[in-house]
Symmetry: C2
Subunit: 481 residues, 2 copies
C-alpha cells in the first residue's frame, strides 16, 4: 500500500472535479438563478483540498498495486460524492447533509434515487449539476469496468482482459489514459446524437442536455417531477428506449461499431442475451397490461417496452406509474433489477454475462447428473471459461445476494414495510433508482430514516463498484503487510 | 434405463403404502368416525395397483443406474401422493382432486401447507393419516438424503458419502436396506420419547401421536386450527422446540450419539452453524418483539425461539400469529426459510452445509482479491472441498433461486399479491408450510387458484428432492440412449 500515492491521485481527482463545476457555474450565470456563490464556494473548497493532497503527497511514480487500486476507486467515489454535494448544501436546495450526500452518491453511482420532493422547484444550475454528475459517474464507471476491473480480477471480469480497446501495455497508468481517451470520444458522440434527437422532438435545450446526461449514464434523474411521463410523447420515449439500450451495451462494442466492425458488434453473445431479455420481458408485460390494466394494445406495448428498457438498463425513468400496475409486471421488473446491463456499460445489476454464465453452469450441473464422468467446460461465445473465472462469478453472485438480504433485513428494522425494504435495496445496490411501494416511481426516498439513507448510499457504492472492490476493504487481511 | 425394474420397485412401494393405511383404518374403527370404507377402498385400489406393477414387471435383479434412481425417487414421491390422497377424497374430507393432491403432497414432502379451512372438523382417522404421511415422508427423506443422494452425486452431496451409517457395500440395494434399518430405529426411538414427553405435558394420546409425527418430519400439520398456539403451554412449546431442532439435525449424528460417540456429535461444524443461526435469530427477533410488539421479555423470547425453531427447521408450526409481527421478524423468518435444516435431517431449504460452503467461498474470493496468486481450498470441518463438490453446491443454489424466482413470477400472474406469491413459493420449495400475507400462519392455501396449487405441489416435490433429482427429468439429454 502506498498511502502517499493514493492521496496524490485523490488530489488530482478533486482538481478534475472542481473543473467540472465550472459548467453548472456557467449555467447559474446564464440563468441568474442565484447559485453562483454556491458553486464558487464549492469550487474553492474542492480546489484547495485537491491542491493540498496533490502537492503534500507527491507521487513517487511507483506502479500501482492491486490494493492501491481498490483504495483509490472506493475512496475516490465516496469522497467525490462528498465534494459533489457541496453545491446542494451551499445553495440551500437540499436541507441536510445526509440528504445531500445521498443525492450526490445517487448521482455519481448513476443510481437516480432521489430525496427531492419536487425537482421542478430546484434552480436550473442545481438541476444541471444533478444530471451532470450522473454523466460524469457514467463515464467513470465505463472506464473503471473496461480498463481497470479486468486487471484487478474482480468477479470474473478477467474474462474481458483481451477486449479492452486501444493498446494494452502492461503498466496500468498509460493504459487507463489511452482507453479513457477512446471511450470519452464514443461517449461524447452518442451523447451529442441524443441531444440532437431530443431537440428534434421538441424538448428544450436545457432538458435535452440534462436528460441526455442521465440516459447515457443509465442514471435516471429527470428535470421533471413526473419523469418522462411529463412529455407524454411516443417519439421522445422511443428515443429514450434506444439510447437507454445503447447505454446498457458494452462501450467496447460501440467503439468497434464506430470502427466499422459491424460483425464484431453483432456476434457478441451478451448483447443477444440482453436484447432477448428486453424483448421477452416487454412482450410479457405488454400482454399482462393489456389484459389487466389498459384498454388496448398500443399503450400496453408503449409503456411496457419503455419501463423494461428503463429498469433492465438500470436507468430508472418512468413514463407511467408502474407502482400501480398489477403484481406480475411489478415482480418481473423487480427481477430485472437483478439482471442489469452488459459488462462495460453504464448499467448496474449483476450484469448479463454473469447471469448467462450462471445459467450455463446450472445446466451443466444437470448434464453432469446424467453423465457423471463427462468433463464439460462452460463456454461463452465459443470460449471455454476457466474455473477461476467461474468461481469469481459465483462469489460475486453470492455476495450480491448476501448483501441484498442483509441490508434489506436492516431496513425492515428501521420500520419500513417488507416490499419497500426489499425493493429499495434492490434498486440501490443495482443502481436503478425507483423501487416499489413507498419508494415507487411516484414516490421518493426523503421519508427513509437517516441510517437507512446511509445504508442505501453504501449499497449504491457497493453495487456500482462491483461489490468486491468495496467489500475487500473490510477484510482484515487487506490491511496486513 | 430399465422401465420394468422402475415399475417393479414402484409396485413394491405402493404395496408398502397400502400396509401403512392399516393404521388410520384402525383409528377409524376405534373412533367410529365413519371413514372405514374410505380407507378400505383406498387400500384395495393401492394394493391392486401395487400387485399389478409388482408382478407384471418382474425385477430382473439388475443393478440400478443413476437414471433409474432419479426416475424411481421422483415418480415414487409424485405417485405415492396420488394414492395417499384417496382417503381424503373417499371420505369427502377434501372436496376436489387438486386440493386432495396438494394436501397429500404437502404431507409426503413434509411441507405442511394446508388447504383445510378447519382441521378440527376433520374425522380422527383423516387427521391421523394427514399427520402419519408426514412421518412416513420424513423417514423417506432421511433415507433418501443419507443413503441415496450422496451416491447420485446431487448438489454437492457426494461430500457425505463417507458418513453413511452402517456398512457401505458398493451395490445400492443392500446398502439402502441396512441403512434404512438403522435409521428407522433412531427415528422410532426419538418419536417415542417425544410422545411420552407430550403426554407428560397433559396432551391427549391422539394429539401427542399426531404432533410427534409432524414434529419428527419437520412437517408442521397440526390437529388444531391454531396450531400449537391452541395449547398455550410453555412446557409443550419447549418440548416442541427441542424435538424440532433434533429433527433438523443430521440423523447420522443421532445414530452416532446413540452409539455413545458424543465427541463425533459435537464436532460437526454444520451442527454448530445450525445452532448459531437458531440462537442469534431467536435473540434478534426477541429483542425486536420486546421493543415493538410485546410488553415484556418473557413472551418475546418464548414466541421468538419457538417460531425461529419452527421456520429454520422448516416445520411450520406457529405458537403466535407471526403474520401480524413487525416487518423485521417477518423478513428474517423469510430469509430463514431459505437456510433450512442440516443435511440428512427431515428439514428442507437449501441446507446449512451449502450455506456454509457458499459463505466460505464468498470469503475465499475476497481473499483472492488481495492475494491473487494464492491457492486456498475451501474447507469444511478441516477437510478440503473439491471443485466438483463446490460446483454442485453453486449449481444447486442457483437452480433453487432460479426456480423460486420463476415460480413466484407465475404466481403473481395468477393474481396473487407480491408478498403472498414470493412467500408461498419460498414456503413450498423450502418445505416449510405457512408463508406471509394471504398464506400466513392464520391463513391457508385454499384460496390459491388451481394452477397455483399444482405449481406449489411441484415446488414442494422439487424442493424436497433437492431440485436436481426432479429437474434432471426435464433435460432432453436424460431420455437419450
Amino acid at each position: 500500500m502506498q498511502p502517499s500515492l493514493i492521496l496524490n491521485i485523490l488530489g488530482f481527482l478533486y482538481l478534475f472535479l472542481s473543473l467540472t463545476m465550472i459548467f453548472p457555474l456557467t449555467v447559474s450565470i446564464i440563468y441568474k438563478d442565484g447559485c453562483v456563490s454556491a458553486f464558487l464556494y464549492s469550487i474553492v473548497i474542492t480546489v484547495i483540498s485537491g491542491l493540498i493532497l496533490f502537492y503534500a503527497f507527491p507521487s513517487k511514480k511507483k506502479e500501482l498495486s492491486h490494493r492501491d487500486g481498490f483504495c483509490i476507486v472506493t475512496l475516490g467515489w465516496a469522497t467525490v460524492a462528498l465534494f459533489g454535494s457541496l453545491p446542494f448544501i451551499f445553495s440551500g436546495s437540499i436541507n441536510s447533509f445526509t440528504n445531500a450526500y445521498f443525492e450526490t452518491m445517487s448521482g455519481f453511482t448513476t443510481t437516480g434515487a432521489t430525496i427531492c420532493l419536487s425537482v421542478e422547484q430546484l434552480p436550473q444550475s442545481i438541476l444541471f449539476w444533478r444530471s451532470f454528475i450522473q454523466w460524469l459517474g457514467g463515464m467513470g464507471i465505463i472506464l473503471f469496468s473496461i480498463a481497470i476491473l479486468p486487471f484487478l480480477g474482480v468477479g470474473g471480469m478477467e474474462l474481458y482482459k483481451a477486449e479492452v480497446p486501444g493498446p494494452t501495455p502492461d503498466k496500468i497508468k498509460p493504459r487507463i489514459a489511452e482507453t479513457a481517451r477512446i471511450l470519452w470520444k464514443v461517449y461524447l458522440l452518442i451523447s451529442l446524437t441524443e441531444v440532437i434527437l431530443l431537440l428534434a422532438g421538441g424538448m428544450n435545450l436545457f432538458d435535452s442536455l440534462c436528460h441526455t446526461f442521465t440516459t447515457l449514464a443509465t442514471g435516471g434523474f429527470s428535470t421533471r417531477n413526473n419523469s418522462i411521463e411529463y412529455y407524454n410523447s411516443p417519439y421522445l420515449e422511443t428515443v429514450f428506449i434506444v439510447f437507454m439500450l445503447l447505454a446498457g451495451i458494452n462501450f467496447s462494442l460501440h467503439y468497434r461499431l464506430l470502427l466499422g466492425n459491424l460483425k464484431g458488434f453483432w456476434k457478441n453473445s451478451e448483447l443477444h442475451f440482453f436484447l432477448c431479455v428486453f424483448l421477452i420481458s416487454s412482450a410479457l408485460i405488454a400482454i399482462n397490461l393489456r389484459l389487466n390494466f389498459f384498454d388496448s394494445l398500443v399503450p400496453s406495448l408503449r409503456y411496457a417496452s419503455f419501463q423494461v428498457a428503463s429498469i433492465l438498463t438500470t436507468t430508472g425513468y418512468s413514463s407511467n406509474n408502474f407502482g400501480v400496475w398489477p403484481a406480475f409486471p411489478q415482480c418481473l421488473l423487480l427481477l430485472l433489477m437483478f439482471i442489469g446491463g452488459c459488462t462495460g456499460s453504464t448499467g448496474g445489476g449483476i450484469k448479463c454475462f454473469r447471469i448467462m454464465l450462471l445459467l450455463k453452469q446450472g445446466y451443466r450441473e444437470l448434464y453432469r447428473m446424467i453423465h457423471p464422468r463427462a468433463v464439460i467446460p462452460v463456454k461463452l461465445s465459443g470460449k471455454s471459461i476457466s474455473t477461476g473465472i467461474m468461481e469469481g462469478v459465483w462469489g460475486f453472485f453470492y455476495l450480491y445476494l448476501f448483501l441484498f438480504a442483509t441490508i434489506s433485513l436492516i431496513m425492515t428494522l428501521l420500520g419500513l414495510d417488507l416490499i419497500t425494504a426489499i425493493s429499495s435495496v434492490a434498486a440501490c445496490i443495482g443502481n436503478i433508482g425507483p423501487g416499489l411501494s413507498a419508494v415507487g416511481p411516484a414516490e421518493n426516498y426523503s421519508h427513509i430514516p437517516t441510517l437507512g439513507k446511509w445504508l442505501l448510499s453504501f449499497s449504491m457504492l457497493v453495487g456500482r463498484l462491483e461489490i468486491y472492490t468495496v467489500i475487500v476493504l473490510f477484510v482484515p487481511e487487506f490491511w496486513k503487510k
